[in-house]
Amino acid sequence: MLRVFISRMLMAIPVLLAVATMTFFLIKLAPGGPFDAEKAVSPQVLKNLNAAYNLDASEWEQYTDYMSGILKGDFGPSFKYPGRSVTEMIGVGLPITFELAFYAILIALVIGVFSGVLAALNRNTLLDFIPMAIAMIGICVPTFLMGPLLVLIFGIQLEWLPVAGWGQLAGDKILPSVTLGFAYAAYIARLSRGGMLEVLNQDFIRTARAKGLTEPMVVIKHAMQGGLIPVVSFLGPAVAGLLAGSFVVETIFQIPGLGRFYVEAALNRDYTMILGTTIFFSAMIVFFNLLSDLAALWLNPRSRDV
């Protein structure tokens, strides 16, 4: 496992370097610049602005400057928000996006695993069909529909929960977490049902039952360990996806997370912000994939000693 870990970490370096380099040159190819605005900037002002942000240097010079900055942990200043550094903005948005992702994944796991296992244990009965039908709806209904729908019911009609914000009013974290979590709960429910069904038919489960173990013991101790491997493998990309894809939920619920910065940076041609967030999210995806692979390895006794 240690060997896997080290080799994967070493592989991450060229991956991130390639991501940074490609993003750097690709954003320069996109038409329009950070200082284009409806009220056009005069050539004199544009010249001054380009000088202020080192955009008048050659592309290669800008690239080497930027890369050496990254090595020192400096992602540069934001073009759109003068006075803010990209590192600072990631620092502000990240904990919020992390928190949202954490609640969402928690909700997804609780609902997903529970209904998946329940469905597998009661195959082809109502207790299988109902949770799986709900899961199918969860997969099909996009968050941009689910979010406003929940807001309409619990925020505006019932007036139980705030409709937007994060950490400002009591209970304002519930609806966004549920919205984001529900979509993933649906996937997890299907995956855990599939995984459990496969495991429940195996010989060692029959042996466990034959030994006289109680059903909860069989399910929790023996079946779930193997049955949930697909869920664990899914969690890595899911967490990375949650972090990078929380944009929609962050927008619907007015959450100051990183997802919004990411998308808005691209629209604003905020070069340093696009680069910073892209590199950061790439690192996250690499890291969480590695983490879930390691967890899956560890859960699978056949590969544990490799």
Binding site: G32, V45, N48, A52, P131, P256
Partner: protein, 535 residues
């Protein structure tokens, strides 16, 4: 299912149940205004930022020499208690408030204004609104590096509370310009403590560092979440200020903002979702406000295009648009059909242009230009930035041109920055555009289409038009000046490098508990007049 229900109920109860008092009701009691402010401000350095959300925040934090009245119109005293204007209208003497103070207790003096204007005009700062001061003698030369000596700029300090400003021409809208945030003062010591005079990234605008001279102080700033300002007891007119706090929420999603308003989380919205406007009008929503606004929605025509270089073609296109139908059936939110480029009534100016809806005449003009039967008009492209409202308008225009002129139209939507770039380099035929006045005077519109103006973008150059505007700028008598501007605008509408479509309105929602918030042309609402009271 039962378990799901139980789990969900538990989550709700664990997390602290529902709020009992909505922020709006709570705010009413404590005089806290929950302000929907569109998007996260770029910053709050008045010399660097551009944009409306920034304006909303800055107007509470800083103050220029003059301040906008609650109902628009004449400028009221701000940091200056009064001013004299010389006979020829080119020399302004400002007398500052004797009790004018910075929020850290320092006195606000003439030198502060001199230094602040020097900063705005310093080329290396890259301020985008430095041209606001180009009416001041020598300002343009200093900003463009023709002189490095700021003493060449027409500002003369008489004493701590008096200074004179020398203008190139009598500029009747000069006092209005001084209500624009780019001309407002910044606290020299604070700025220099956190960077050089031309440092765009200085940390002086952070809570704890920020010092300014407005009715409110910066209390906290949570990025992308909210900005809180609190009443400044040192403000010279603090007795008038009734609000204790304003909380600005950068809600960029209009649907979210609408829901927040309905749920009592906001006292106002920045705008309203366009599809909801007719619904709210129909339902007689008492919170819906549709106010006049100094802005025009128009189409730019690229006069360097081989087809559009002929004014007859441009006029034919303009005459075949039914503007009334456009505002009644497409935009549907109280917009007014535009028959001039300047919105009627700006600072007493009434344009006398007309743009008929006359498909017959339009077809005739097109035939005269050589596009009659047998000679087909080439395909024409309308460029717009990706947005459902722009698309709807473009679709309507496409249909009108197809129906009335038989012209084939292609719609091209582009990402905002690509659209701006294509407009800038002239890579378009017809392009949607909008212009909002920076100050209440027709010049803010008509200046746009003078030759060599960066915002012209049509390639249209008319020397007579340019001469008339230049001449109007040297005339002190307002009615004579308006006559010259009217003449210029007639040339513009006769040549039609742009096709005015409609005059904007400001549509938004405002709680009936908000008082002292009056409609005005520039949509400038000074928070010192605003207060909250149960309706």
């Amino acid at each position: 299912m039962r378990y799901l229900y139980i789990a969900f109920t538990i989550i709700i109860f664990i997390s602290g149940c529902s709020p009992t008092v909505s922020p709006v009701d709570d705010g009413l009691e404590k005089q806290i205004f929950h302000f929907g402010n569109g998007s996260e401000p770029q910053g709050i350095d008045p010399h660097i930022v551009t944009g409306v959300p920034e304006h909303h925040i800055l107007i509470s934090l800083c103050e220029g020499l003059t301040s906008p009245g609650p109902r628009g119109g004449k400028s009221l005293p701000g940091a200056a208690e009064s001013w004299d204007i010389s006979e020829d209208g080119t020399v302004y003497t400002f007398y500052l408030q004797k009790n004018g103070k910075w929020s850290n207790g320092d006195s606000l003096t003439s030198e502060d204004f001199v230094w602040s204007w020097k900063r705005l005009l310093t080329p290396s700062l890259g301020a985008q609104y430095s041209d606001m001061l180009y009416t001041v003698k020598g300002a343009s030369d200093f900003h463009n590096g023709l002189t490095e000596n700021f003493n060449d700029v027409g500002i003369e300090v008489i004493d701590d509370y008096t200074f004179k400003v020398y203008l190139n021409n009598p500029t009747p809208y000069f006092l209005g310009l001084l209500s624009h945030y780019s001309t407002w003062p910044v606290h020299k010591e604070t700025v220099l403590k956190h960077g050089a005079i031309d440092d765009r990234n200085g940390q002086w605008t952070r809570p704890g560092n920020f010092v300014c001279n407005g009715p409110f102080n910066l209390k906290s700033w949570e990025l992308n979440s909210r900005i809180i300002v609190e009443k400044n007891p040192l403000y010279w007119d603090a007795n008038v200020v009734k609000l204790n706090e304003i909380r600005y929420y950068p809600v960029s999603n209009v649907m979210t903002e609408d829901r927040m308003f309905r749920a009592g989380q906001l006292h106002n919205t920045y705008t309203i979702p366009s599809q909801k406007c007719p619904v709210y009008i129909e339902a007689k929503n008492k919170d819906l406000k549709i106010d006049p606004y100094m802005g025009t929605y128009f189409y730019r025509l690229n006069t360097n295009d081989p087809v559009l270089k002929d004014p007859r073609v441009r006029k034919a296109l303009a005459y075949s648009i039914n503007r009334k139908q456009l505002v009644e059936k497409v935009t549907k939110c109280g917009q007014l059909p535009a028959y001039s480029f300047t919105p009627p009534g700006s600072a007493g100016y009434q344009p006398d242009t007309s743009i008929p809806f006359d498909p017959e005449l339009a077809r005739q003009l097109l035939a005269e230009a050589g596009y009659g039967p047998g000679s087909e008009f080439p395909k024409l492209e309308i460029l717009f930035n990706t947005n459902e409202d722009h698309r709807k308008i473009a679709l309507a225009i496409q249909q009108m041109w197809q129906q009335n002129l038989g012209v084939d139209i292609v719609l091209v939507n582009q990402d905002w920055k690509v659209y701006l770039n294509r407009e800038m380099i002239g890579d378009y035929q017809v392009s949607r555009a909008g212009w909002i006045g920076d100050y209440e005077d027709p010049n803010t519109f008509l200046d746009l289409l003078r030759p060599n103006r960066g915002n012209n973008k049509t390639g249209w150059e008319n020397l007579e038009y340019d001469r008339l505007i230049e001449q109007a700028n040297t005339v002190k008598d307002q009615s004579e000046r308006h006559n010259l501007l009217r003449k210029a605008e007639n040339i513009l509408i006769d040549e039609m490098p742009i096709i005015p479509l409609y005059t904007y309105v400001r549509s938004y929602q405002l709680s009936s508990d908000v008082k002292g918030y009056y409609p005005n042309y520039l949509d400038s609402h000074h928070p010192k007049y605003i207060y909250l009271e149960r309706d």
